[in-house]
Symmetry: C2
Subunit: 336 residues, 2 copies
């Protein structure tokens, strides 16, 4: 039900997803009548692999997470996450209110032992492929220990999804030297160095899209600003390019000649292809789609959830965090 | 002497700048022999408006600011800033070590009364024109009072340079709602609301390039990450575009057809045109050029210094900060 558009996006995306994945099954959670009506508009639907699950409420995009938690116990979001908890679904995907989704997921699913708070992680395109960045907005203030947890979670997400052994982890800072940054970042660097991780060291903002490391760790404030700044810049560059090619009949002619190349470029930088952020650190898979995306974008969020469900990312995170806790205990015992 | 390349960039840029500005005079500070040798390589130079000032030392790009301050009292950087202090120069421009430049400028010139620490401010291109963003890396941790000072300084820089009365000021945050963000940002919002500023409210990362406000205020950590992330993303997009147009003989042909448009676009997003960051809050004008820029970029940094020198930006900042201090005193007196 969620997102800026709702069923007109989520339903067509779901139908297409089922066509692409003959093994997958989907449960659409929301207003049954509205869902049936939307489904009826589409031709062939693999109804044997598509189940509807009624939920009588919807969390508004601007609703306070606290109020949503209290008053909307039968919201599509809550019911979907309940299905994950009960083992009926292997993952939940939502384009709804991020704060409410995070609060509900945390309340219903709980965090993995050793994880203080979940983080929002996303794969971003880089010059070398993709990198995972977290946290992108769930945690405004982070402790060094949390940043370490983000490093472990990001590392496990990358290795679970890409099969890459021992991904490199970088700590986002404002200079590559050890002395740079605030106290939290400096202490986090010490913890990351000490942990059983492939810690690269500090990275700077320009390293993100350069693909210097596989995992970029930062607090949710910085990460959210970096992500949204990127969205804004990409949008501005695209609109400048469009303006230049539509300036006159002559430039329009140029655009026509360059169309196949421009389309290929456009596809390559298409943000929809990177849609789908993981709420990492929970005892279940929850993926957040951008609220403003279309059916293609929402399909990529479903893909992300599907890939995670096919991996053992949660078990791996739990294992690595337990090892880390053990490691800290041993170090403390040795120090005493 | 500074920057990744040194005189091969700064000298040609200076010569061109003098040609563009028949009223301007330049003092080149550095190794006199090296400067003379570089100048001799260039044809006509307006030597009546170009003076050399010898400085026997150079601060290295990776040198610690503390050591540079202590051991390099005759560095080109220090001597240039001394000239500003003594009133011999109206502004200093450097492509050198940012930390050393900031520390030296602060030590020699001192801050304007009421300004705790200087900030690095830069004009960025937006969909609507340009916006000023600060701090971009001078202050890792900022108090709410400092963020207010940044707002005043940015506002005065924009109105001094563009003539725009009462520029809008936005506070960079991770959500436009008042409740979002950390404690520092929340308190800063209260101070900014209370001040004699055209405070717009919170803005998000995507608002920067959208040009939502004239001035974007943030701490130096967030600002530096946002700026460098932008640099990295712009670089990646440009290289993707290049790759697409050089994929085959056919795409190269397309590029040829689209060349005039692509060149116009390239010029429009050329980072060199926005080179030159102001060290604001000092009792003198100091402009930092990107260390890796070329002669065109360095010319833009000289332009920035020239424009500031032609305005009364420092006097205006001093005036507004004094008013603000008075305002706070009155509010406190009224409260007692």
């Amino acid at each position: 039900m969620g997102g800026d558009v709702g069923l007109k996006v989520t339903v067509p995306a779901s139908i297409q997803f089922l066509q692409d994945h003959p093994d997958a099954r989907l449960i659409l959670v929301g207003d049954q009548t509205a869902l049936e009506a939307e489904l009826a508009l589409h031709g062939s639907v693999a109804r044997d692999r598509l189940r509807l699950h009624h939920a009588s409420q919807v969390v508004g995009m601007d609703e306070s997470p606290q109020l949503a938690m209290k008053n909307k116990k039968d919201s599509s979001m809550r019911v979907a996450i309940n299905l994950v908890k009960e083992g009926e679904a292997q993952a939940a995907v939502s384009a709804g209110n991020t704060g409410a989704l995070m609060a509900t997921a945390r309340f219903v699913l709980k965090t993995i032992p050793g994880i203080d708070r979940p983080a929002i992680a996303k794969l971003l395109p880089t010059s070398k492929g993709t990198s995972c960045m977290l946290d992108l907005g769930a945690n405004v203030d982070c402790t060094p220990a949390q940043l370490l947890q983000f490093g472990i979670m990001g590392s496990e997400l990358v290795s679970s999804l890409s099969g890459k052994a021992n991904p490199t982890v970088g700590l986002l800072n404002i200079g590559s030297e050890d002395i740079k940054g605030n106290e939290t970042v400096k202490q986090a660097a010490e913890l990351l160095k000490d942990a059983a991780l492939n810690f690269y060291g500090n990275v700077e903002g320009n390293d993100i899209y350069r693909g210097t490391v596989d995992v970029v760790v930062c607090d949710g404030f910085t990460g959210n600003v970096a992500l949204k700044t990127s969205e804004g810049l990409a949008h501005m560059i695209a609109s400048f390019l469009r303006e230049e090619f539509t300036r006159s009949w002559w430039t329009r002619l140029c655009a026509l000649a360059a169309m196949p190349v421009l389309n290929h470029f456009k596809k390559r930088v298409d943000a929809r292809r990177y849609n789908g952020a993981s709420l990492l650190g929970l005892r279940g898979i929850v993926v957040k789609s951008h609220g403003g995306t279309d059916a293609l974008g929402f399909r990529y969020a479903l893909e992300q959830a599907c890939e995670e469900a096919g991996s053992s990312v949660i078990a791996h995170i739990a294992e690595r965090v337990a090892e880390q806790l053990q490691h800290i205990k041993q170090s403390e015992a040795a120090a005493n």
